[in-house]
């Protein structure tokens, strides 16, 4: 406790170290010109990848060649595919779709990370599949419930399924695409490697109709939930055979991050109260034990004592996640803390020691990660605060000035002296550039608020698609929630809707019937539906019923949010 207090006082000092004079000069930030600069960045990297590195996974920008990193799937190409469409390059999107269909093979003797393959390959292919109609690809009649890219995604995902065959249901971290789990494979997996499947796998299940994917993803999520500590935290690594925590640091960053992210995104995508109630419980514990002065630290998962007073670059996704569930005030306050770190170095070091106000040894790199920019994009949607555009401006200037080389953009090996490393991770094109572009392009179709939509006739009926509300997976691949509804739910509901519509028009005859049913039966029956959807866990459900409001909702913004821009934050008295 003493340690905590000590830290607390230090942190206060840190937060007071505020930058001066920002915000004002960038009033007239030229959004369009920055948008074009981001576009140029994309093509600089993308074209050099095609020229020098394809069909390898990644470009090595200093030596101007390629290497395989996460498998051998031309990963950068898969990852960058939907960014092409977001930039409006339809023809290249179409070309790449053809290249991938012919060139990518998952029947290879390669040991692949289950997590990375899922988020980059399965996620990338799924979003490309769902966007292909928008990109003018001629889709087959069963689209969006079938299609070549969907089949590829399914194939890739099936290669991962053997990893889930453990006593706990939590997957191994690595799997051989040809032979399944290698004998002697380590059973230690990081938390995120267990809980980051529901978005892709539930989408796959909803689109293809095969429930196996969603089932294994849910089982893994539940296993983690069951193994949380008494104070409601999860550690960093767990043994998937024995369910013993191997690394007991609890926080929101590396090793855990996308687990929390997927609880929220899964809840939104699937309208799932159970996932949301899990997240809200975690959120409470995180606030209680790890949050200090709008920073989030690392604590021991059983005792709650601070183990590492650091901020990690990967943690910067948190404000964006908070904004999705309506916690915009807190999100903005944390974001502003993180932004000061960027201003100090021109990037976010992997680890930043908060009390010392400097980088941590061996963790000074910045591999052009997207997380802070991602949060800026979400928050800009919510607040329209020009400060967020300034972060975008700073990111463009930094990346161009520091990491641009003749052959692409190089990872920053050390933020203290801006030495460069011979690597360009595939998430640079998939995420960093995408979020930057979206930040500067408020009219992009991805930001559609529901005023536009497409009607698609499928053999299974008529679907409303592309109505906005895209859910980004953790590699920034957007998933259209309406598509999930289109392939399975819609078919289930169709006849019920048909009956109800009949009643609309023949109200006089059946009016009695409705009136009778409504008070004693109707509500009860209605109430059943959500229960079915939110499935098994009775305990969780009771919890949700007790609370005064639906779990699947955001609080409205408070009055003072009108003035909470340009760095102004308000303390709530409540």
């Amino acid at each position: 406790a003493a340690m905590q207090r000590f830290l607390g006082s230090l942190l206060c000092l840190c937060a007071l170290r505020l930058p001066a004079g920002t915000g004002t000069a960038a009033r007239g930030l030229d959004v369009a010109s920055y948008r074009e600069r981001v576009r140029a960045m994309f093509y600089h990297a993308y074209e050099h990848y095609l020229e020098s590195a394809f069909p390898y996974d990644e470009l090595r920008p200093l030596t101007c060649d390629g290497q395989d990193t996460w498998g051998s799937f031309s990963l950068t190409l898969i990852d960058a595919l939907d960014t092409l469409l977001i930039l409006g390059n339809v023809s290249e999107f179409q070309r790449v779709v053809n290249v991938l269909q012919e060139g990518v093979d998952f029947d290879i003797d390669v040991n692949a990370s289950v997590f990375e393959t899922n988020i980059r390959v399965v996620g990338g292919l799924l979003s490309a599949h769902l966007l292909s109609r928008k990109a003018g690809v001629e889709v087959e009649a069963g689209w969006p419930c079938s299609g070549p890219l969907l089949r590829m995604a399914e194939e890739a995902a099936r290669k991962l399924l053997p990893a889930f065959q453990t006593p706990t249901g939590m997957p191994y971290g690595t799997v051989n695409l040809l032979h399944g789990v290698n004998p002697g494979e380590t059973p230690v997996t990081c938390t995120a490697g267990i809980g980051t499947f529901i978005v892709e796998f539930a989408t796959l299940s909803h689109l293809t109709g095969d429930p196996v994917f969603e089932d294994v993803a849910r089982k893994a999520l539940k296993a983690l939930w069951k193994n949380r500590s008494d104070i409601g935290l999860v550690g960093n690594h767990i043994d998937v055979i024995t369910a013993k925590w191997v690394a007991q640091d609890a926080g929101i960053g590396a090793g855990v991050d996308s687990y929390f992210e997927y609880l929220v995104k899964g809840a939104i995508l699937l309208q799932d109260k159970e996932l949301m109630s899990m997240f809200l419980e975690y959120n409470k514990a995180i606030k209680n034990y790890t949050k200090f002065d709008d920073w989030y630290l690392w604590v021991q998962m059983y005792k709650g004592t601070v183990s590492m007073p650091v901020f990690q670059s990967l943690e910067a996704y948190w404000p964006g996640l908070q904004s999705l569930i309506g916690d915009v005030d807190n999100a903005m306050r944390t974001f502003l803390n993180y932004y000061t770190v960027w201003k100090q170095f021109g990037g976010l070091p992997e680890f930043y020691n908060i009390p010392q106000g400097y980088t941590v040894d061996k963790r000074e790199g910045y591999p052009l990660r997207p997380e802070l920019i991602e949060s800026a994009m979400y928050l800009y949607r919510a607040t329209r605060d020009p400060t967020l555009l300034e972060l975008g401006r700073d990111a463009v200037e930094s990346i161009e000035k520091i990491s641009k080389v003749d052959c692409g953009f190089a990872t920053i090996k050390d933020l203290r002296d801006h030495r460069l490393d011979n690597r360009m991770e595939s998430f640079f094109l998939a995420e960093t550039v995408k979020y930057l572009y979206l930040l500067f392009d408020p009219d992009n179709f991805i930001h559609n608020d529901g005023s536009d939509f497409d009607v698609v006739v499928t053999p299974y009926g008529e679907c409303v698609l592309s109505a906005g509300g895209y859910i980004f997976n953790t590699e920034a691949h957007p998933i259209d929630p309406a598509a999930l509804h289109c392939c399975r739910k819609r078919r289930e509901e169709q006849w019920e809707v048909e009956d109800l519509m009949r009643e609309f028009y023949s109200r006089k005859k059946t009016k009695k019937f409705i009136l009778k049913r409504a008070p004693d039966h109707g509500e009860g029956e209605n109430a059943k539906d959500p229960e079915d959807a939110s499935s098994e866990k009775a305990g969780e459900k009771r919890n949700s019923k007790k609370s005064s409001h639906s779990l699947l909702s955001c609080p409205s913004q408070s009055f003072n949010s009108k003035l909470a821009v340009l760095g102004q934050v308000f303390l709530d008295n409540t």
Binding site: G21, Q67, S451
Partner: protein, 871 residues
């Protein structure tokens, strides 16, 4: 090579010029801090600009610095230092958490960090303050000018007669510089008086005394006997005791609690005006501060204080000068204001429920007509207005059509006289925004305007339906009898007054509802954080003293006539048709309450994930429900305020307003999942209360309408089914094609299999043959080897025989010799026989070698053959 490439790294690029070489700023882009320090000796005032080349803020500030430098380069040395490059001295010695950092030095005093806005005018102002931290006050009038300013002023009195510098002067000078360190906005101004008679005005007698001027409270003299006379102390004393009647708010952009702290003190009046810190005079600001001063002037007896009287004197010319200025600005936004003789006419509405009015400002246009005019003498004749009104009414139908929010003007001729022109400027306003008129009124209420209220009343009586008494629209202007002087102490709703520069912080005004279309960035709002309300001074009123006073007064009275301002989303276009109707603050009432349909209203926010993922459901619902009896609508509540009773604290919220019982709205229960069947059930349940009575004609008609709707719905369904069928056909065809292709491929594969099998057979045959030949050759080889063996044996026999022969020959030779010894002379015979003896042995050896050679070649060819076979 692979592993080596992994270790390839590259050092950061070498720094290059940040400022252009033509810039007056000295750019030490290699971070030569030592050289920067040397440079400081050369100039009295130095500005250091510490930057990082990758930093966006540094890049943005560069231009501003360049601009300031180009204006001040003859007096100030501008030095830019790259404080990022890790080989540079600056990076090694300084540890900054952000960039750019601006430090100023006044000779050896410094660094003074500039923390204000990164805008050229503000920086220049600050640099100028550092250049001359003390203002020299030479005369009485200058002193009064100095003191009348709203910002606190500190005056030091120092007599420069005997010694070159009076004691304490340097300390005072330093304290002025010191204050700039703490108070980077430079709100406290420092002045120095050297003339004894001037000093007496503020009752300073002794040289070395320091005076802090205050308007509302008694002014203070620095207590030398209690506190040491040091620069820090003077500065601290001034900061602590200064009076803040009205404060500038300048958020620095980083995380800050500034607004939180200020607004939590109580209701605040935020006044946004464009401000140029370099301008000589600020008429509007003077006017506002005068109101502030009045507002805070609680103690009447203070008015007797001499300097306050002076203040009044010195202020009045300033105020006068501001008035025409205000008029000028006014005329920019409202072209009609240049006509001194006007009247407001509110046209009758089309129907009583309409929430809009067409309002016209009718003016006698003295500039257009040929009449010798009195433009500069605002004078208005009652008869003229009467005539104008008459002419106007005759043509008023032309003004009904006006439905724009902007003002449209037209000129028309007088009914009576061909020499009189009238100008009518009309626009449509919402009922609660009718204060358009009031803006006119404030102007014409100024005493000089002869358009008396008496005339107005007459007009009202004359044409009842047309002219509405202004009083019912703008009660806020009717209590002008209450005095603002000292109101802050008399009311229990005390306001704190704040100024914001609208060049920098207009975004706050926009978020409080300032219209985005105005060119004039003036805006005032009262924000009450505790009550969660804010009131806005109508933007159509120009921001001048009297309007501000009225605004404050209206807030302060017991039953305040001010209405909570509801911010409306301007980006929603009214005429855009969507399947789901987009409702805004302004259209809420009309869409929800006035429409004759059942309305399902979806409260959402764009950022809320749970709302956005429901979009498709509402679109489907809207497409499904009969559009002539149902409206599916939605409202973005982060951009549109609603009256309290319609606010919601969670999103999404779904409300249903049944037709004919709009006031009995029902909320979709929160624990139900939002999907199409549930929504339909919900609507069905709540919209089905009507007509269980026996059918009348009307009911029959309704029924037929309903069935008509049903028919069209079914038709739509059929259409859908048709397209579904066609899609199915397509899919079928597609599958068929795929199937046939698959069959074809299968066939092909079968064929390939056959051919492959054949090939396999032939290959097998071939390999058997090869095996046979191999065996055969092997056999031959063995035979050959046997033969060779035989040959070798034979040759060995031969050799043996040879040796025997030799022995035989030798023995014969011996025998012959013994015979010859007997018969012939001995010597010669012996040598001859020896020669004979050698030659045959060599011959046999040679022949043997030849034979071996032969064998060798045979063996190698055999090897070769077998090698071939294995290959």
């Amino acid at each position: 090579s692979c592993s080596r490439a992994k270790d390839v790294t590259m050092p950061a690029k070498l720094p290059v010029n940040f400022f252009s070489t033509r810039s007056p700023v000295i750019d030490l882009f290699r971070g030569q801090l030592d050289y920067a320090d040397q440079l400081r000796q050369d100039s009295e005032i130095v500005l250091y600009f510490f930057y990082a080349p990758w930093c966006g803020q540094s890049i943005a500030a560069k231009e501003e610095i360049d601009h300031v430098a180009s204006r001040l380069s003859d007096q100030v040395l501008f030095v830019a230092v790259n404080c990022w490059w890790n080989q540079g001295k600056c990076r090694k010695q300084k540890h900054f958490f952000y960039f750019p950092v601006i430090h100023l030095y006044h000779r050896s005093f410094g660094p003074i960090e500039y923390k204000g806005p990164m805008s050229a005018v503000y920086i220049e102002k600050f640099v100028r303050r550092v250049m001359t931290p003390l203002l020299y006050i030479s005369s009485r009038s200058k002193l009064l000018d100095f003191l009348s300013n709203y910002e606190p002023g500190v005056v030091g009195f120092f007599e420069f007669n005997a010694s070159p510098q009076p004691p304490g002067y340097l300390t005072f000078f330093t304290s002025a510089l010191h204050s700039l360190k703490k108070d980077y906005l430079g709100t406290i101004r420092f002045g120095v008086v050297t003339d004894k008679r001037v000093a007496e005005e503020i009752s300073l007698v002794h040289s070395g005394s320091v005076y802090l001027h205050r308007h509302a409270n008694t002014s203070l003299i620095y207590p030398k006997d209690i506190m040491n006379f040091t620069a820090e102390n003077i500065c601290k004393w001034a900061l602590e005791n200064r009076e803040m009647l009205i404060r500038w708010l300048r958020p620095h952009g980083g995380k800050s609690l500034l607004l939180n702290n200020e607004l939590k003190k109580g209701p605040a009046l935020l006044i946004f005006i464009p401000y140029n810190p370099l301008a000589e005079i600020h008429p509007l600001l003077d006017e506002i501060t005068k109101v502030a001063l009045e507002y805070h002037k609680c103690n009447k007896s203070q008015a007797a204080e001499p300097d306050l009287q002076h203040l009044g004197d010195s202020d009045s010319p300033a105020f006068d000068s501001s008035v025409p200025d205000a008029h000028l600005k006014f005329s920019e936004t409202f072209p009609i204001a240049k006509y001194p003789c006007c009247n407001t006419v509110v046209l009758p509405q089309w129907h009583s429920i309409s929430r809009t009015h067409n309002v016209c400002e009718l003016c006698v246009n003295q500039t257009l007509g040929v009449k010798p005019n009195k433009v500069h003498v605002p004078h208005c004749n009652f008869l003229e207005i009467e005539a104008a009104l008459d002419s106007f009414y005759l043509q008023e139908h032309t003004f009904f059509q006006v439905i724009s929010n902007t003002i449209e003007c037209s000129n028309f001729l007088s009914f009576y006289s061909p020499f009189s022109y009238y100008t009518a400027c009309c626009r449509t306003v919402n009922r609660h925004f009718l204060s358009f008129i009031s803006s006119e009124k404030t102007i014409f209420q100024t005493p000089k305007v002869a358009f008396s209220s008496h005339g107005k009343k007459d007009n009202t009586q004359f044409s009842i339906p047309h002219i509405e008494d202004r009083n019912c629209f703008i009660p806020d202007l009717n209590i002008s009898s209450t005095n603002i002087t000292g109101l802050s102490c008399r009311t229990n709703k005390t306001l704190n007054l704040y100024l914001l520069d609208s060049n920098l912080f207009w975004i706050y005004a926009e978020r409080l509802g300032a219209s985005r279309s105005t060119h004039l960035k003036e805006f005032a709002a009262i924000v009450d954080l505790k009550e969660e309300v804010h009131y806005v001074l109508d933007q159509n009123q120009s921001l001048v003293g009297p309007t501000l006073e009225n605004f404050i007064k209206n807030f302060s009275v017991l039953y305040s006539p001010l209405k909570r301002h509801l911010v409306d989303d301007p980006s929603v276009h009214l005429h855009e048709e969507h399947v789901v109707t987009e409702v805004t603050t302004n259209t809420f009432h009309e869409t929800v309450f006035l429409s004759a349909k059942n309305v399902l209203l979806f409260y959402y926010a764009q950022w809320c994930g749970f709302c956005a993922s429901l979009n498709h459901i509402f679109i489907q619902l809207a497409r499904l429900l009969p559009p002539d009896s149902f409206t599916v609508a939605r409202i973005d509540v982060t951009r549109n305020d609603l009256p309290w009773e319609f606010m919601t604290d969670r999103l999404p919220t779904i409300l249903f307003f049944p037709h004919q019982r709009k006031e009995q709205s029902v909320k979709f229960p929160e624990d139900f999942s939002v999907n199409l069947p549930n929504l339909l059930k919900f609507i069905l349940h709540h919209s089905s209360l009507s007509s269980s009575e026996p059918c009348t004609k009307e009911c029959l008609h309704k029924e037929s309408v309903l069935q008509q709707g049903h028919i069209s719905h079914l038709e739509r369904e059929i259409q859908k089914l048709r397209s579904e069928i066609s899609a199915l056909h397509q899919a079928h065809d597609h599958l068929e094609a795929q199937l046939s292709e698959a069959r074809r491929e299968e066939q092909k594969l079968q064929q390939q299999k056959h051919t492959l099998e054949k090939q396999h057979k032939t290959l097998q045959l071939h390999s058997e043959q090869l095996q046979a030949t191999y065996d055969q050759k092997n056999q031959e080889l063995l035979e050959m080897a046997e033969k060779l063996q035989e040959l070798a044996d034979a040759s060995e026999n031969l050799l043996k025989e040879n040796a025997l022969l030799r022995i035989l020959v030798a023995s014969r030779g011996g025998k012959l010799q013994s015979k010859d010894e007997i018969k012939e002379p001995l010597q010669s015979e012996q040598t001859f026989s020896e020669d004979n003896d050698i030659s045959p042995s060599t011959a046999t050896a040679a022949s043997e070698e030849k034979r071996i050679d032969n064998i060798d070649t045979i063996e190698t060819t055999a090897e070769h053959n077998s090698g071939n076979r294995t290959e």
